[in-house]
Subunit: 359 residues, 2 copies
């Protein structure tokens, strides 16, 4: 009827290991969903990773970043194989993409899923988001070694926090809190001898002043880790530096019993470049080819991607389908089920069809 | 009968808040114990801390370190009040002592106590020790700010790892593992862009080669935090950098349900200077004067002190008494009891007397 369909160019990077199983699986689900919601995902496939490295000596082609720059978003599987050292595989693919596209937000929602019991005795469900700074802080290329191999050898790593960097991640976290409970917990360590953390506190407090409707509480990261295992339900948005966010997001995902299904968005909220969506799990070489890889982390990452692209209705529908699929027990062995990767996708598609009729 | 009694000079620094209640309480228990084991603790009392600061402008006298240098060990309560900023109170008392006496091991045993339920559903008891590097790494005085208050302001913190520093903490951890299960878990983050952690891994692996009977496994700190909440029973000795050890020891103490009672030894194993023993809890200004402060963290720290001084038999007896006191429920409100600080000490003394007769 002459209506132009909304289209999004998505660069798929299956990567290594089970990423090569979960990305195609998630694409199938996302395509059914997009059709039902009147938009189209135009996929390009980028077969980069450790196999590519074995052939070419690089994890991606020299114009890889340029190629990705054409996309509206990137869906990544997993990176790494036992044969290739991490500093080659991760630094050759995952980390350059995060940095080149200034994906300064690492968005890590973690919540209890229906029917999935985490390790905690207290079974009250929780629902929080770790907003991790993704471009600076403790992870920087500023560092190295002196006197290599000698008794007086030393290694240094400079943590660099800029006002711009802290401000923008804090602003994102406070904005997000507005759409949620209106509470932000900031992870700090300003009581130790860490010069950067009092600065983090100051800048976060300045940003907080612009969000009088949002409540800010700061916690030393050691105490925060303890509080999280004692009662995760008291937290909503947690804003944290690169390293603290890395630790806290794995910790909370484990508490939700969902380390294998937790998603991650590497986001540049300005939209200048594509954002990248990936499950937090790894390439799991031990289960490659068995058909037992859980596609939920990848599918949930796809939901974050759709939300980022502005397709909130579709994203919400996908997340509701996820809850129902999990609640029905139509899941892979890691979640106590008996289905294969593809059968879980079938369950998603069926659930989407059912909810489509109901809507 | 002419036998010279073994004597140890102990510097007591009650510090602030409940430290002023728990240190005298612990002294009472330790004195009964030492008498029964044929040695004597010669106490000197050092009333330093925030009240001292209010009077003198310093957290301890200018010859404070010298005074402490006379002691065989230091028993510290807690440092800090809400009125005094942490960088004044901690950096003025706690941290200089750790550093001046090169207390490079922060020894943090964490284990389930009989009858105390932690937050985990799985109630199998666990028993581990976090061996935290205590003098270098992410906590250093190398750092600062540029362009203060301006939009392009930045703060830097240099993490410095030396071969000497990593080697000596690793050697301590491996030696300790030999007396326990023979397993060491090393906390690393060498897959991220952190230049110091591959160095940490290398040096730890070199030390491991000298301990062929000890099994070493390395974990990325994010994964380790997750594994700890999924199953702490699989860990025994965990060796970690200053910051990682700080986070992991609070996390594990919370898992044991014992964050209020966990002890800490700040140890220089060479014995060149005194080592310092302190509970990991803070000064808890909110309960000061109520008599409800739990003395167990302080008493347990005393047990670590006795073990360090070579009085292993007495230390073991104190730890056994601790288990019985806790199992009997003769504890303060934080552990579900109704007793006061002093009544818990009475329970300890009674328990020691009973076990003394039995022995
Ligand atoms: C108070 C602070 C400086 C200290 C530290 O981080 O060392 C504390 O958290 C601890 O663990 O003893
Ligand atoms: C693989 C590693 C570099 C990465 C990180 O620390 O960023 C991972 O742990 C993550 O959290 O995405």
């Amino acid at each position: 009827m002459g209506v132009r369909m909304r289209t999004y160019r998505i660069a798929a990077i299956p990567g290594d290991g089970i990423g090569r199983e979960t990305v195609p699986a998630a694409r199938r689900v996302l395509d059914v969903l997009s059709a039902a919601h009147g938009f189209e995902l135009l996929w390009t496939e980028h077969p980069w990773g450790c196999a590519f490295h074995a052939e070419t000596g690089a994890m991606m082609p020299s114009d890889g970043i340029e190629q990705l720059g054409e996309a509206d978003a990137i869906l990544l599987g997993a990176v790494g194989t036992p044969e290739v050292p991490d500093h080659v595989s991760l630094w050759g693919l995952l980390i350059p993409i995060r940095r080149e596209f200034d994906q300064f937000v690492s968005l890590r929602p973690v919540r209890s899923l229906p029917g999935i019991r985490g390790p905690l005795r207290d079974e009250r469900p929780f629902d929080l988001v770790v907003v991790r700074e993704n471009t600076e802080g403790e992870y920087g290329e500023v560092g190295g070694r002196l006197y290599r191999g000698r008794p007086h050898e030393l290694a240094v790593q400079e943590a660099v926090f800029t006002r711009m960097g802290v401000e923008r991640i804090a602003r994102y976290a406070f904005g997000l809190a507005r759409t949620r409970s209106g509470r932000v917990a900031s992870a700090t360590k300003s009581n130790g001898i860490v010069h950067t953390m009092p600065f983090w506190d100051e800048v976060v407090a300045e940003v907080a002043a612009d969000f009088p409707d949002v409540e800010l509480t700061s916690y030393h990261v050691d105490a925060l880790a303890a509080l999280l295992v004692l009662d995760p339900t008291r937290f909503d948005v947690i804003v944290a530096s690169n390293l603290f966010g890395d630790i806290l997001s794995d910790l909370t995902a484990a508490l939700a019993g969902s380390i294998g299904v937790a998603p991650c968005g590497n986001i540049d909220p300005t939209g200048r470049g594509p954002s990248m969506f990936e499950p937090i799990h790894g390439s799991a070489p031990d289960i490659v080819g068995t058909g037992s890889a859980d596609p939920i982390g990848q599918i949930w990452s796809g939901a974050l991607m759709l939300e980022h692209l502005g397709e909130k209705e579709a994203a919400d529908r996908l997340v509701r389908a996820l809850d129902r699929v999990v609640a029905a027990g139509t899941v892979t062995p890691d979640l106590g089920g008996t289905l294969s990767t593809n059968e879980v996708c079938d369950a998603f598609i069926e659930e989407l069809r059912r909810s489509g009729t109901a809507a």
